[in-house]
Amino acid sequence: MFAFLLRRLIWGALTLWVVVTVSFFLMRNVEGGPFDGERTLDPVIKANIERQYHLDWPLWKQYLQYVGPFNLDETSGIFSTKTVPAPDGTGEIENPDYREDVFGGVLAFDLGPSFKLKDYSVNDIIGQSLPVSVALGSIGLIWALLLGLTAGVASALQRGTGWDLSLRLVATFGIALPNFVIAGFLILLFAFNIDGLPVAGWGAPRHILLPSLALGAPFAAYIARLTRTGMLEVFSQDHIRTARAKGLPDHLVLFRHSLKGGLLPVVSYLGPAVAGILTGSLVIERLFGIPGTGSHFVNSALNRDYTLAMGVTILYTVLVYSLNTLVDLAYTLLDPRIKLEES
């Protein structure tokens, strides 16, 4: 298992490096810098801004600064000196920032400043918005599991009846409609016909219910389908027939003997589901006006705030990659027949 984790770690680091490197060089070669606006800036001001963000450095140095783990800045980084030339040109004064930030860059978990949201670093923005997205995502996942498992098991138990048919129909719609259309219908319904739940905003716990439901709905539909198939397959197996033949009550057969086997496909789907929920929250956060990482990411991508967009991309890559690894581990624990990849 240790070897498996190590291998995963190495591969993950390699991939992340490729993503960071390719997008860094693409990003820095884009014509029209992040500070080009309606008005052309005064050259002195522009030079000052570029110095502030180290855009005047050679590209390789900018790259090293971005990747880290050492801060290359002359005033506060690892190469900073104890004294700096005084601003009035008379001798030298003590450097107040001497080696204040020795570490920097992605390897030191520092994603740099945001180009568009002045005075904020990417870390600040992520720190503020990630809890929101995580809350939304986890409640969405709970919705997906709750609705999906219930519907799937009920469908499998009631196989062939009207219940089964209508549940499957709803599930197929859930899979076939984009989540913003589902969210749209939910908003329509709750804004005009049903009182009680707010359709926009953030803060109170009740704000989270609708967006997370819209977020989890397509995954609930898929989980319901997986559960139904998995349960039906287990029901047809010999050990269930034996259990039934022994005269075990239905609930024992279901909970003790069937569920574990029937839910295996759902566990392997959890990895993609988590990734999908994180992605889906880009849309949902925008629709419901929620200040999460997803909406920041979309805005940064549209506003060409490359550092922020890249920071969020890196964060989510790491997040999803580790969650997927965890799911793979959980899968082997649940199903002893599956061995961790051996190579």
Partner: protein
């Protein structure tokens, strides 16, 4: 003697033979009667028995034909704008709001900028927009530096640059040709000339060119003095870069239906565009994107998977580990990031002939190849060592025969199933990107854009339900049909279920 024995033997044998031969001939006849069932025949039979999948298949074929022949249909332009205040509600032909003038340019501010007084023009061609207005392309040599002229923008329409008055005093508006590069002194503009009502009603006969010539001859319509009638084509609104066949279909449509077009059967949106027309035209782009992107993913996945499967051993192992790792990456973030960066490189890429759509195809295709490669590799690995392949080898079949006759058809079934299940995913992804403003751009229209338009009007005080319900219904029906067909095909092609019912 020998001869006689032989003949006797022969006779004996012949006697035995007669019975035997009759039996054998009967067998042969039976064998010829009995047709072996290929995998595909069997699958087709079982698909036909699966009612919902069979209906889905026909629905998809019908819808595909509808969207392919969209230029032939007498639909309103999907992109011509009419900036009225309110969307028009769906109407039946016998209802009052059925006939709505949906021609573009009603609400434009058409006062002529003074700079264009002395513009020298030369006509280079002309078009018909929307059946009701006539567009003449002219090359205009501007008196001043064109960069100094600030065209007024009208929402969605190309910039209005000048205003030309024709002999009869009817107005024409000069548009900048969309996509024209700024900074050249010689620029191509379109003079849009509105037909008079008489000209509209007069045009019931054959081709548009004839109609226009007749209208010109009888004085019911006229052209700007500088403009020379070169060619008349029927094109809806802003669909500039239309392939030849589509233009031909538009011509056929003009010959068939003249100026007649379907009214707002499914209503219009906030910019006066017909919803039915947008759904049909949007389906073209959605289908195009999803099919091409799926084929790209197919190509990548099959090549990668088959290579890994055939080579086997360490190469296979390494290739599959790479797939495992890529699986665990949230590609959509990377893709959005890449698309925004590539958008900045747009002009450079356009020089190489790489349009936004091409980027789209490859980017989307590049995400969805992973599963395909896994599936194909697994199939190839298991097929490589199967008895029937061994048997073919023993009989002396060549490698290429084994690959193309024995392995490919077996992989094909899985590939087709996976393809039908990928297409809806890609459609959803296109909708997702369009929602974020990174997908298809106006004046083009896709289902994603329609769903976005719909979801934008939802939160308004007044609900224009037809903008949400109809596009969503079209999308849901198609995706549903694709999913059902995919599942049906999987069942039909599953060798485990073969011969069972």
């Amino acid at each position: 003697m020998a001869d006689s024995t032989h003949s006797a033997d022969d006779g004996e044998l012949g006697a035995v033979d007669a019975a035997e031969r009759a039996r054998l001939e009967k067998l042969l006849a039976e064998a010829e009667e009995f047709k072996g069932e290929s995998l595909w025949q069997d699958a087709w039979r079982r698909l036909k028995r699966n009612k919902s999948a069979y209906v889905s298949l026909w629905f998809l074929l019908a819808f595909g034909a509808l969207s392919f022949f969209a230029p032939l249909l007498p639909l309103a332009s999907p992109s011509a704008l009419n900036l009225r205040d309110e969307p028009v509600a769906p109407a039946w032909p016998w209802e009052a709001n059925w006939h709505v003038d949906r021609a573009a340019g009603d609400d434009l501010d058409t006062a002529p900028p003074a700079e264009f007084g002395a513009a020298a023009t030369r006509s280079v061609g002309s078009l018909l927009d929307d059946g009701w207005q006539h567009r003449t392309y002219v090359d205009v040599t501007l008196p001043g530096d064109p960069d100094q002229v600030r065209p007024r923008r009208v929402d969605g329409e190309p910039s209005v640059l000048a205003w030309v008055e024709d002999v009869s005093g009817r107005s024409a508006i000069v548009y900048e040709k969309p996509g024209q590069k700024k900074g050249t002194r010689l620029q191509r503009y379109a003079i849009v000339h509105r037909f008079s009502d008489q000209a509209r009603e007069g045009g019931a006969s054959t081709g548009l060119r004839t109609q226009l010539e007749e209208a010109l001859a009888s004085g019911r319509a006229s052209l700007p003095a500088e403009a020379e009638l070169l060619d008349v084509q029927f094109r809806p609104g802003l669909w500039e870069d239309m392939p030849f066949f589509d233009r031909w279909m538009l011509g056929a449509r003009a010959a068939l239906f003249g100026f007649w077009q379907v009214g707002p059967l499914l209503g219009t949106d906030g910019k006066g565009r017909d919803v039915l027309s947008r759904i049909v035209w949007g389906s073209r782009i959605s289908i195009q994107v999803s099919v091409i992107a799926s084929l790209v993913s197919l190509l990548l996945g099959v090549t990668y998977g088959a290579t890994a499967g055939f080579l086997g051993g360490r190469v296979d192992n390494l290739m599959m580990r790479i797939v495992d790792v890529l699986y665990a990456i949230p590609f959509i973030f990377v893709v959005i990031f890449l698309i925004t960066i590539l958008n900045a490189y747009r002009t450079d890429l356009a020089e190489f002939g790489i349009g936004r759509m091409t980027v789209f195809y490859f980017v989307i295709g590049a995400i969805y190849w992973l599963t395909m490669s896994r599936v194909v590799r697994g199939q190839v690995l298991s097929l490589k060592n199967q008895e029937f392949v061994e048997a073919a080898r023993v009989v002396g079949a060549s490698n290429s025969r084994i690959i193309f006759v024995h392995i490919v058809p077996n992989v094909l079934s899985v590939v087709i199933v996976y393809l039908t299940l990928t297409i809806p995913q890609v459609m959803l992804f296109e909708a997702f990107l369009s929602f974020l403003g990174l997908g298809v751009e106006a004046p083009r229209v896709s289902w994603g854009l329609l769903a976005v338009d719909g979801s934008e009007v939802i939160s308004a005080i007044k609900t224009y339900w037809w903008l949400v319900v109809y596009p969503a219904a079209a999308m849901a029906a198609t995706l549903l049909a694709l999913n059902i067909l995919g599942d049906g095909l999987r069942d039909a092609l599953d060798p485990k279920l073969r011969g069972k019912d």
